[in-house]
């Protein structure tokens, strides 16, 4: 075990995968100089950085050309490489949306299974850091609407390492959304190689009164909320789906069957967010267990403002999650959570 940060864990998964399989390469802007910290990180000086370890043939520093970066990674994946694309901030992804949605998600299917596309795209959600609307996106719900992609949202260093490794192993395209509010988080992470299967939720806390499903950056907030509720005698079950596609329906359904109450915390925009999908699944499949409205705690449908006083109020936090739990338990005020 070593204590690793979230970012360090991502670096570790990448390094292990590159050491294990020389078809794994990294493509992205400024990856040589390791601007975003995962291709070397603080350990750069002692452990050697990725460029030194793997050379420029496998660490490919690109022009600022997101469309061809992603498209070329797809073409490379279709012909024998296993690229990891560091796509930096999530809002740069839109420049490559045609390649993502029309090529990467569709090609294997359209071609009747002739191609497989073992490709990982890492996309960093830098919200909450006063970078304004052009750098604060959390666009995973858009891609959940696109069949053919897998989507992971690790919320701890340990999960980051294990899920990313499974993503790199996968023969299907996987988008890894990394929440920057989690980047500094540290915990013990196994030194050896390990994988966490895609599609398995994690039950962070067991509980019997209310189910809280929390996604990505909201997991620590939900953790705080659940701890607080526990002190007040309320037993909250906290589930982190970890993978949004495939989604672990069973874990959520089993929990709601026991608690009868559901709160979903989701840093994405509210409308058509991941929380909407989870709510809709439960309202269809576990309706009979439900004792109260399903409450979404999401980011309201406004763009992200720059000023901290404006931005700070928008994302789901422990307080809002706690209030929502109280509300579904009939303990709090009855108003709607957002909007």
């Amino acid at each position: 075990m070593s204590i690793l940060s979230y970012l360090g864990a991502i670096g570790a998964a990448q390094r292990e995968a590159m050491q294990a399989d020389e078809d794994v390469i990294i493509i992205g802007e400024d990856v040589e100089a390791n601007v975003y910290g995962t291709t070397g990180g603080k350990s750069r000086a002692d452990k050697g950085d990725f460029l030194t370890l793997f050379g420029p043939n496998r660490i490919r520093n690109t022009p600022i050309s997101e469309e061809v970066i992603v498209g070329a990674a797809a073409g490379a994946a279709m012909t024998g490489l296993r690229p990891i694309v560091d796509l930096s901030y999530s809002s740069f992804m839109y420049l490559a949306f045609d390649q993502l949605v029309n090529q990467i998600a569709k090609n294997r299917y359209m071609f009747g299974g002739q191609a497989s596309i073992p490709l990982v795209i890492r996309s960093a959600m830098f919200y909450g850091l006063s970078t304004g609307a052009h750098h604060s996106d959390r666009p995973y719900p858009m891609l959940m609407n696109v069949p053919g992609l897998k989507i992971i949202t690790p919320a701890s260093p340990r999960d980051a390492k294990g899920l990313l490794r499974s993503a790199i192993d996968s023969n299907d395209p996987v988008i890894c959304f990394e929440a920057c509010p989690l980047w500094g988080m540290k915990e013990d992470v196994p030194d050896e190689e390990y994988r966490i299967p895609l599609g398995q939720a994690k039950t962070v806390f067991e509980g019997s009164d209310v189910t809280i499903v929390a996604i990505s950056g909201t997991v620590p907030e939900a953790w705080k909320a659940a701890t607080k509720l526990r002190k007040e005698g309320i037993s909250a079950e906290l589930i982190d789906p970890r993978t949004l596609v495939p989604l672990d329906h069973r874990a959520i359904m089993d929990s709601v069957a026991r608690t009868g109450r559901l709160v979903i915390a989701d840093p994405a925009h509210r409308t058509c967010g991941a929380a909407a999908e989870i709510s809709a699944i439960v309202a269809e499949e576990a309706f009979d267990s439900l004792k109260a409205p399903i409450v979404r705690v999401a980011t309201p449908d406004t763009q992200i403002p720059f000023a901290p006083v404006l931005e700070g109020q928008l994302y789901p936090n422990a307080k809002r999650i706690e209030d929502a739990a109280n509300r579904v338990l009939g303990l709090g005020p009855k108003e709607r959570e957002t909007q």
Partner: protein, 328 residues
């Protein structure tokens, strides 16, 4: 240029295959045997075959909506291609792709794209694999004059140029994008755009002459294979049919004189004359070749007709290598 007799004959055969296949498709669409529509390469056979025959069988290729010619040129079997157009289980994509999305990985065809310009980065990526793994393979991207105004092409040319990727960008300039004349929407000359990205840009003015195309592409491929990087080739040609079969535009955007002029430069006729004139093949032999090709096409149609529809459940397969239970 010293091309083996076999190769010369193979060029004519592949041009004939494209012609007869597409002529047949045109009728099959009209009578509703092929669902949707098709875009034929009739008139552009030299441009397609000059390029595909210059490629080796291991080399990669991507294409676009005008999609049958490319895999046929690259050596695909006609049966599975035709069955795909019919949406049959035996189709090269199991009936899931259709005319717009043919792909035949067995001959290096990585897929035609219904999205104009969108497969250019894919071809660039295939060249990246060749470079990283040192396989010596080359990749070629077919795209139209219309696609030459998509930004992705320039991102691809730049990336290929700075990384020295073995890729050939091949612009099939048939002078129109649907109803739009290239000169009204394309500034300057496509081939000349290469210079700004530091790669050779060549224009083949007579794209109806398969040998001219072949020679230009061969040079680009040699360069690429020798590690000297990408090239852009623009081939001037013309499509004899409407943009797609069955499409009826209210306006006459191509005048009759122009059409007649280009129709008089039929690539198959031109090369036939050359083959005969140069003693490579007799008229009789070439007629026999045409008969063979016609029979091949008929056999492909029969194969397609007799093949079963795909099982409805296959709509839920091939999306992921590890499926997780999406069904109707």
């Amino acid at each position: 240029m010293n091309i083996e007799r076999e190769t010369l004959l193979e060029m004519q055969r592949r041009m004939l295959r494209i012609r007869r296949f597409d002529e047949r498709c045109s009728k099959l669409v009209k009578f509703g045997h092929i669902p949707g529509t098709v875009h034929t390469s009739i008139g552009q056979e030299a441009q397609v075959v000059g390029a595909t025959v210059a490629l080796g069988p291991e080399d990669y290729m991507t294409g676009n909506h005008r999609s049958h010619g490319h895999p046929i040129g690259k050596g695909s079997n006609l049966g599975p291609l035709m069955a795909e157009l019919f949406g049959k289980a035996t189709g090269v994509c199991g009936g899931k792709g259709g005319s717009l999305h043919l792909a035949d990985f067995s001959v290096g065809s990585l897929g035609e794209s219904g999205i104009v310009g969108s497969s250019i980065p894919i071809a660039t990526g295939a060249a990246l694999t060749a470079k990283v793994k040192g396989t010596g393979r080359v990749s070629l991207a077919f795209f139209g004059d219309g696609a030459s105004n998509q930004g992705g092409l320039y991102e691809s040319m730049n990336l290929a140029s700075v990384w020295g990727l073995p890729v050939v960008f091949l612009c099939e300039n048939n002078q129109y994008a649907l109803s739009t004349p290239a000169h009204t929407v394309t500034a300057g000359v496509v081939a000349e755009r290469a210079a700004g990205f530091d790669l050779p840009g060549v224009r083949v003015d007579d794209g109806q002459d398969v040998l001219k195309v072949y020679e230009a592409v061969r040079i680009a491929i040699c360069r690429a294979r020798a590690g000297e990087g990408p090239s852009l080739i623009e081939v001037m040609t013309y499509r004899f049919n409407e943009h797609s079969e069955g499409l009826r535009l209210g306006v006459d955007y191509r005048n009759a004189d122009e059409r007649d002029l280009w129709r008089s430069r039929d690539p198959i006729e031109i090369f036939r004359a050359w083959l005969i004139g140069n003693g490579v093949a007799s008229a009789t032999a070439l007629d026999a070749m045409d008969e063979e090709v016609l029979a091949e096409v008929e056999a492909a149609v029969e194969f397609a007709e007799e093949s079963p529809d795909p099982d409805a459940a296959t709509a839920f397969r091939d999306l992921y290598t590890e499926p997780f239970g999406v069904t109707a």
